[in-house]
């Protein structure tokens, strides 16, 4: 007992000694802090003790109610720094010897000015596969609709027609707050939703829209999603615009109202627009993601006109500069979100658009030959498109089941008128109606290890079209062309998954019937012994199997597909024997995709296709598509063989706002059928011949997009080159053509100061064919935005320089200016277009045999006042 007690006491003494020594080696700085003016004690003053360098904090604390503080440290340096801080008082910093002491401090009043800060959101952030583009950080004062910002996003391109691509690939879906109301007609939304209503634009990379396929079928395409600002989500969002002005003494108007509304039960978009001031509304109704998804290819969304005025080469300038229009459009779109995973969509639109166009075309056929033929065609044309569309879609998109059915009805009552002067003068009237009904049904059912799918596509279209030519007052010719086509493809698919492998087998069939009735009255003399009226009936049936194997490794996948098709084509003219053709077609393809780094992707593809040419060319009948284009088919089917390969490298780093891609493609095509022009006098005839045709093209393209913070600039550079060797047919002669073309596009968007933005685009294209002149076409587009409070001034210049020959160039400059006064929800614009009143745009092209000179009449000077209300 005595021993234990003694031991306890020893331990206690040792602890006391150790504590005392510790306390003795500790420095304690304490004191009272008071206001210098009135000597009152100051509580809550921040007190910090650091080493002599100020880089290491040793202790900190706060004064109590009586202004007392106490700081301790065991630091061994010679001196310490004591700092006392409080807002609205001058900071006190004292260097003290490293020894315990009492230090009372007086603090002086100070006019403390807080450094006010508003943090700008990062323009681009990434979360998983989603890249967020912050609209507030990217928009400028001149931007009105969200498409104006989408065009500036690095990695994203928007074509003239409104189609959006990400990293060179078209997006597969466009969502607004996660809902796909518009399908492929998303231009209705991008040109409607005000830029001030959107918080961010999301790009969903590798987006698989079908939930049942999320874990099995990868997608290398992206989707886009608009995230609206919080205050805009439960009330209508949109804008209403009214404008009027003058152009060449003609009154110009603009009226538009668009409203988007969304809540958790669905979305709706109503849009009513009309103008005659240069905005073509048909572009807003283009279906950008349409496909029928069959081994037999995809039909066009709307059928190509059987008769139409010659359109020629469209000038590479913004369409608004060359459009003469009177356009009206109404569209209503509604998405109903039913119970979980179910939705119904209704989309309807009506378009009534009149377009006028004046162009002069001088074509020199066989320009380098011994007997070139010159045809001059001066055309003033008016087209009147009237089209209505109605579609109903029902979708169930669940993780184990996908059902989608879409029924579409389209009616079109278009007509056109054209006045031709020159080599083959005439007046032409075109009737171009068509009617179309289509149904697409898709079903996917999934279990743990396998999947079943069924797809059915049905379409019926009728095109009873006609063109009349008149020379003065008397009718010369009347051409009728009436096509009635029925088309269906149906297939089922079974897929089996095991580990990293997926094996699927698809089997299906196609059936197509087509009846083409062609009738020409008042046959010209040179066609007296030819077939000019007939009825051809076609039946094409095919069955196919498509085995496919996918192997998914870590970060890569390999996809091999080998479709095998047996196809029978029957073609017969009424009153004659039927011809039958049987073909065995195979179109294997291989794709390798590798994401070898968080920022890098690589893809290689290869495909081969061996298939018959289109049955539509199988006829012996001459018919006019327009006065300058007489066509005839051929008495047989040819065979096409195509080989294609591509290598693609992608880099994207959202953290550094840097996107780039490099694509190389090689295509080789051989056929025993070729088409081209023959001539009878000055009448070109487009015809088909049984002859060997070859086509080889090598294409390389690169693109870089970057936001450079240091100079507040969004940069985009594209460069491309293609080399093509191909066979052309003209006037009973086959010719080999060698063509080289290159392009360079530079675009920059710079915030020079807080009130001055500058956008610059430079586009150069060079082409060289068959030893002909090398032709350069340059385009410069630049605009500035000056913002002063509520005022914005936007001058803009579009300048083109086109080379016609070694010493001749044709310049065109279009100067525009806009002045805007903007309040929170209202703005008034004074817009002046083509201030220099530039009249025409000229361009020359050469295709290896023929030289084409086109002259387009441009919109004259125009002044408009527009009032816009945003809600």
């Amino acid at each position: 007992m005595f021993t234990i007690r003694k031991k306890n006491i020893s331990i206690l003494i040792a602890l006391w000694v150790w504590n005392t020594i510790s306390m003795m080696s500790q420095t304690v700085i304490s004191g009272v802090i008071r206001e210098a003016s009135n000597r009152q004690a100051m509580p809550e003053v921040v007190c910090m003790l650091t080493d002599a360098s100020g880089n290491t904090m040793l202790d900190y604390g706060f004064t109590d109610k009586e202004g007392k503080y106490s700081l301790r440290t065991t630091h061994e340096g010679d001196s310490l720094i004591l700092t006392t801080r409080m807002m609205s008082y001058r900071t006190v910093t004292l260097r003290l010897p490293n020894q315990s002491q009492t230090k009372d401090i007086l603090m002086q009043d100070d006019n403390f000015k807080l450094k006010e800060v508003v943090v700008k959101a990062d323009p681009i952030t990434q979360r998983g596969d989603t890249i967020n583009y912050n609209v507030a950080a990217l928009k400028s004062a001149k931007d009105v609709a969200i498409v104006d910002v989408i065009k500036k996003l690095p990695g994203v391109e928007v074509s003239e027609s409104g189609k959006i691509s990400y990293q060179g690939k078209a997006i597969n879906k466009f969502y607004i707050e996660g809902m796909d109301m518009l399908g492929g007609k998303y231009s209705l939304a991008t040109t409607t939703v005000p830029v001030d209503a959107v918080a961010s634009i999301q790009v969903l990379e590798n987006h698989q829209p079908i939930r049942a396929l999320e874990e099995t079928q990868l997608s290398e395409r992206a989707a886009m999603n608009l995230k609206l600002k919080k205050g805009k989500k439960l009330r209508p969002v949109g804008q209403a615009t009214l404008g009027g002005g003058l152009s060449d003494e003609h009154f110009k108007f603009l009226g538009a109202i668009s409203a988007l509304h969304l809540n958790e039960k669905g979305q709706s978009l109503l849009s009513l627009k009309g103008n005659n001031s240069g905005t073509q509304l048909a572009n807003e109704l283009i279906e950008h993601t349409y496909q029928t998804g069959s081994v037999f290819g995809t039909l066009p969304y709307t059928p190509t006109a059987l008769v139409s005025p010659s359109e020629g080469y469209l000038p590479p300038i913004p369409a608004q500069n060359g459009i003469f229009n009177e356009s009206y459009m109404g569209t209503y779109n509604r998405l109903f979100k039913l119970k979980k995973d179910w939705e119904i969509k209704v989309n309807g639109s009506y378009l009534d658009e009149q377009l006028e166009n004046q162009q002069k075309e001088t074509t020199i056929y066989d320009v380098t030959g011994e007997n070139p033929l010159t045809i001059i065609s001066n055309q003033a044309s008016e087209s009147h498109h009237r089209q209505s569309n109605l579609s109903f879609q029902f979708t169930k998109n669940a993780t184990k089941q996908y059902v989608n059915n879409q029924l579409r009805l389209t009616g079109d009552w278009s007509e056109a008128y054209s006045q031709l002067t020159g080599t083959n003068p005439s007046q032409q009237d075109f009737e171009q109606p068509f009617f179309l009904v289509e149904n697409k049904l898709n079903y996917i059912g999934k279990t743990k290890s396998n999947q079943f799918a069924f797809n059915s596509y049905l379409r019926y279209q009728s095109q009873p079209q006609e063109v009349c030519f008149s020379d003065g007052d008397s009718l010369m010719q009347n051409q009728q062309r009436d096509e009635k086509r029925f088309y269906t493809t149906n297939d089922i698919q079974m897929a089996y998954y095991s580990g990293p492998s997926e094996l699927s087998l698809t089997a299906g069939f196609k059936l197509e019937t087509n009846r083409i009735r062609s009738s020409m009255n008042e046959v010209p003399e040179f066609l007296k012994d030819s077939v000019t009226s007939s009825q051809w009936n076609y039946l094409e049936a095919g069955v196919f199997v498509r085995p496919s194997y996918v192997f998914k490794g870590k970060g890569y996948n390999i996809n091999l597909t080998v479709p095998l098709i047996w196809q029978k084509t029957d073609a017969g003219k009424q009153g004659s024997d039927k011809q039958s053709f049987h073909h065995f077609v195979w179109t294997p393809s291989l794709r390798f995709y590798w994401k070898f780094h968080h920022f890098w992707e690589f893809m290689a593809t290869g495909s081969y296709k061996h298939s018959p040419t289109s049955y539509m060319n199988l006829n012996d009948t001459y018919y006019y598509k327009n006065r300058n284009l007489l066509q005839r088919g051929i008495d047989g089917l040819g065979m096409d063989k195509q080989t294609q390969g591509s290598l693609n490298l992608y880099y994207r780093n959202p953290f550094h706002a840097f996107w780039s891609r490099l694509n190389m493609t090689y295509t080789q095509n051989k056929s025993d059928l070729i088409s081209g022009y023959d001539f009878i006098g000055t009448q070109p005839i487009y015809t088909w011949q049984m002859a060997n045709r070859s086509y080889k093209q090598f294409n390389v393209r690169g693109n870089v997009g970057k936001i450079v913070d240091a100079i507040q600039t969004n940069l985009d550079v594209s460069i491309g080159y293609s080399h093509t060797l191909y066979t052309q047919y003209q006037q009973k002669t086959l010719r080999e053509t060698r063509s080289n073309q290159g392009y360079f596009i530079f675009n920059s968007n710079t915030r020079i100061t807080s009130w001055w933005d500058w956008e610059l685009t430079w586009n150069s294209v060079v082409s060289h064919n068959n030893g002909y002149e090398t032709l350069w076409n340059h385009q410069l587009a630049t605009n500035m935005t000056f913002s002063f409070g509520k005022w914005t001034f936007i001058p803009k210049l579009d300048y083109t320089r086109n080379q016609l020959d070694a010493s001749q160039f044709k310049d065109a400059a279009l100067l525009h200016a806009a002045l805007r006064y903007k309040l929170k929800t209202w703005s008034i614009d004074l817009q002046c277009d083509n201030l220099l009143d530039t009249q025409e745009y000229v361009v020359r092209t050469f295709n290896g045999i023929n030289q084409y000179d086109q002259l387009y009449v441009l919109r004259p000077r125009q002044i408009m006042v527009k009032i816009r209300f945003m809600f």
Partner: protein, 290 residues
């Protein structure tokens, strides 16, 4: 012009009516009503807005929610922290209140600023005493709860050598823990107020950025402005005074309640035949684990 107005009306008719939380007077009109009482606890010297980003469901770590929060404080450290929409709503109400009364239209105007905030929490620091904080929150239909306790001790480990610029201010790093989570924060001594978003405090400068080390909660400063007006707190007269433990328990119970349980809580106040039978518990990831 008439046709334009007709068209706009047609647009509004054709689209869904927004589901707002507006008050409608029985019988119509714009009557006066009693305004919520507010107490001024300090004059605002500094106002800081933060973005709170958090994971509501730990099983879906790629899904975030964000909320804007505001901290209004005076130089002595008295502050109120709450959701920004709620602050704006309170400001509008306060501005339109006369003699304790507010018009129905003005109250609906104020309601417009309220958002679907995750939290209705209000945290007042250095209130009622210097070393205390007060928490106030409306929890479902259970009512408003409040508790007072000592300011939390995060056990800060300051690393003065680590610096970073946040919102244009030079900041130092510190690490600490509270209620089951570890945090790293960035504070600036250039603003010598010992405060920050949520419960963060106790450093020799204002905290401008904070994140939990499990990457589930992030606070980022969005703006710093000279403060104006008073720092107010809604009256506690109708609040149920409790302890922190009971408060957290009641909050968890409310947040995790299924749709059916919430409907049941209405009792006979609900007159819809559309009663939910969904008994699945909701997901709740509280920042205070205990």
């Amino acid at each position: 012009m008439k046709n334009i107005i007709l068209f706009i009306s047609l647009v509004c008719l054709c689209t869904n009516v927004a589901h707002g939380q507006y008050i409608v007077a029985v019988g119509g009109g714009d009557p006066e009503m009693n305004a919520s009482k507010r107490d001024t606890i300090a004059q605002c010297d500094v106002q800081v807005k933060y973005e709170l980003k958090f994971i509501p469901d730990t099983m879906k770590r790629d899904k975030y929610k964000t909320q804007t929060m505001v901290l209004r404080m005076n130089t002595k450290g008295v502050s109120v922290y709450q959701e920004y929409g709620k602050y704006r709503s309170d400001s509008v109400s306060a501005a339109r209140t006369r003699n304790g009364k507010i018009r129905l239209s003005d109250q609906n105007e104020a309601i417009k600023y309220q958002t679907q905030a995750r939290d209705n929490i209000t945290i007042a620091k250095s209130w009622p005493e210097n070393n205390q904080l007060l928490v106030r929150e409306l929890i479902g239909l259970d009512g408003t709860f409040t508790y007072t306790e000592e300011k939390p001790d995060f056990g800060w480990q300051v690393d003065f050598s680590q610096t970073k610029e946040v919102a244009g201010y030079n900041c130092h790093s510190a690490k600490g823990s509270y209620a089951g989570r570890d945090y790293q924060v960035w504070f600036t001594t250039d603003i010598p107020i010992s405060d920050g978003p949520w419960f963060f405090c106790g450093l020799p400068g204002l905290i401008l950025e904070a994140s939990s080390l499990d990457e589930e909660f992030f606070y980022t400063c969005m703006s710093i402005q000279q403060g104006t007006g008073p720092v107010t707190l809604r009256s506690l007269d109708d609040a149920f005074k409790t302890t922190r433990e009971k408060f957290l328990k009641a909050k968890r119970k409310n947040k995790e309640a299924s749709s059916a349980e919430r409907m049941k809580a209405f009792g006979d106040k609900i007159q819809s035949s559309n009663i939910s039978t969904n008994n699945r518990k909701r997901v709740y990831n509280p920042q205070e684990k205990y």
